[in-house]
Symmetry: C4
Subunit: 256 residues, 4 copies
């Protein structure tokens, strides 16, 4: 019953997101605008009903309303109603696409939650290191962007430092649009240095995250020692100590 | 004998794929079109013969015909015959290029299968995590694409949400064609955020897969089951079974 | 007290860097140039005061003045004073943006230092391998760049070997501006080879750094030396010192 | 003495490579062509002398002459002499840039060799897996390239299958020149799928190589068991068994 409801909700959310996307395409809106308008109102009424039921059913409605998912739910329906009062607010309608975030709540109920938790825990464990890395990257793009601003000048598109920093980000992350590109030999030489740096530097967050996951997988997080022989390094699923063969104590095997 | 047949088949498939490719080049078709037509018919008759022999030789022809490789075999020869009936179906000829997939079956017989299995097993083990990652990426591109659609507008090429989402994918994956690129300062600021996100986020699938392979490599060394309870998955340095607590037998600890 | 001072300094540095960036934008300088001039002088006087106090407070002023951070501190204030004497030195003002490097010193005092040290130690441990990798990359771009210079010629933008090497770097690092791109079939074939090479070669530094961090993470857990011979680097599950063969003391095996 | 000779040779090779590069720049050749011609002949005579001495000094000159480095040495000097006979062979001069490969031999003598060996051994161990990966990538680009050729057609630049496959490689490897890019909604949808695939698929070679290096680092390659207790998993630098404390046998500790 609850599962069927979830599936209906997932399909509704996906369909309404697709409808919003199609509605933004000029040619489709001109031809099928009326149908999309009907679909949108159908889903909005459905989601309004769901929102109302949630408010009634949960024990602390105010807590729900102020929670992240409560706000996403509200933002999913408000813009459609606002078009009745403010018909010109075309771009505000895009807010409705945040509905896509609602899927995360439903997926939370599913089997994927354990998988996502390992990923998030490893990310959380390495957040300090990732911040250090991010700060280094931002310093590099500021310094190199400014250098290119001086070396290349406005003629090649490096019209200001913020724009040059934007170019440095485009280059360091290996995106490389090509809308701005150095043309002087010196500029190209420095740009080549940034590229090789960006090419190699990606190893840092990847290494951090890989090492963190390897640690999580090999169960080094399970840091309780065997009560009999005092040694540790046991797997998450270990019931008996692999060194001395005695049972690991029950709290440990229960909580692991 | 079987090996010689495999090599002939591999060379035939590769040659016919190259012929299809060359046939699509205007200048070459005009000059050597006749020869390519002869080669194509030669290989088609050869592959038809092979398909017929397979149908006769295998025990359950119907099962083979409906299998993945059976369909690929059929799709490799059908389009050429269809040109006799429907000479205008130029693009349908491209289906023949799926012949390249036939190589996978032949390679399955070779020594590479063990290697591929480790890769596929690690991929299969981490499929849940990769799906979580993929869903997060898709949510990010929908939200950021829609934001850029509002911020930049049609003037910079962000004419609709689907197109803006396409741009967000091009940017997040660090492909960066540059056919669509933000021009307003705010748009470039958000784009820079997506780039850094995409640059760092690649660490997630890489970390997942690396950790899974490290686990597979470590586990491969000690693939004998416990003689007492029959379960395996023991560490390299385990002396006692972690499941039942009995000593792992001496051959195992000696050979590991 | 010291912490409050740090926060004030961090905010000052960030604000002054933003002011320098905005000052480089034509439209903003024309309208708010006077205010930015005032802000700049305010921060310059503040940083001058700080530099003076540091010179007075530290035991060896001359050592500080010649240190990396001492030079950065000096470069942060000198250019503004120089504009009084040399008003035309527009580009020299950009040197002030090196102020952003000053943040590293302040962050050194913070809790992030331990995290950064692990990252730097792993980088330092793998520096020889990274140099070997870097030298291989540089050889590849020189050889492939020269090849494309011969194959494509000046018509496609490959006007000289240095420019072709620049193109090879842009391609191998998967940046791909598209300002120079091969147009002949042979050139595109070789370019495709470089791309696949560059796509795969990124695995090398990432693998080096990941393996180094995995080692660092594992080693971190057991950082006590053998009581008998004083050497360390023991495995997580070691009972006896691998160097001298004496039992590692019990506190160690208990706490590890 | 030998070290001084190596340094002179490294500097000579680097200088001559730089001279070849500069010689290809139109503006520089016109102005300094005469000097570059003198430098080139100087280095060519020096390298000829060195080549001659090597032929005389080594025990088996013919073996050296046919070895990889022997051929590189020959190719470094031949083209300059050929210009005396065939003055028009402008592009053949580029062969001289292969001199850059000579540096590898000299570096072989240096301390970096051990580092490079670990990297090469891990690469060699994972070569089968990398071939499987490469074959999968090539199949993907053939299938997707052909699909885009049908979907987009010649109007968007997808004029033939080889060109479309080239585009698919540019996209899958996240290079993204933008010289050819899909314009139809369906083409962009398929392109987005290739991009996400290419973004994720990079995890495979990186994971393979990381896992291989982790294995090499943690010494699982050292697969000899302790003669006393029969257990293994010892480090490369282990002298005593970490499990039972007895000395590992001398052959093992000697060869490790």
């Amino acid at each position: 019953m609850g599962k069927a409801f979830d599936i209906v909700l997932i399909v509704s959310i996906l369909l309404s997101v697709v409808a919003i996307m199609l509605d933004s395409v000029e040619a489709i809106r001109l031809q099928f605008g009326h149908w999309l308008w009907l679909i949108e109102w159908g889903f909005t009424l459905l989601f309004t009903l769901e929102y109302g039921l949630r408010l009634i059913c949960v024990r602390k409605p105010w807590l729900y309303a102020r929670s992240f998912y409560g706000l996403v739910d509200l933002l999913s329906i408000i813009p459609t109603y606002l078009t009745l009062i403010l018909p010109g607010a075309k771009y505000m309608l895009v807010i409705r696409i945040l509905r896509v975030l609602r899927l995360f709540r439903i997926l939370k109920l599913a089997e994927y939650v354990g998988e996502a938790n390992v990923l998030l825990k490893a990310l959380s464990n390495s957040r300090h290191k990732i911040l250090v890395f991010l700060y280094t990257v931002l310093t590099l793009v500021v310094v190199f962007g400014s250098t290119l601003y001086v070396v290349e000048g406005a003629a090649s598109g490096f019209t200001s430092i913020p724009k040059s920093v934007y170019w440095a980000i485009v280059t360091l992350t290996t995106v490389g649009y090509g809308d701005i590109a150095p043309v002087t030999p010196l500029g190209q030489f420095i740009a080549a240095a940034i590229m090789i740096m960006g090419y190699g530097i990606i190893a840092v967050p990847t290494g951090i995250y890989s090492a963190e996951l390897v640690r999580a997988y090999t169960g080094q997080e399970h840091n309780e020692a065997c009560a009999t022989c005092g040694r540790n390094g046991h797997d998450f699923d270990a019931v008996y100590c692999k060194h001395c063969g005695h049972a690991l104590d029950e709290q440990t095997s229960g909580s692991a």
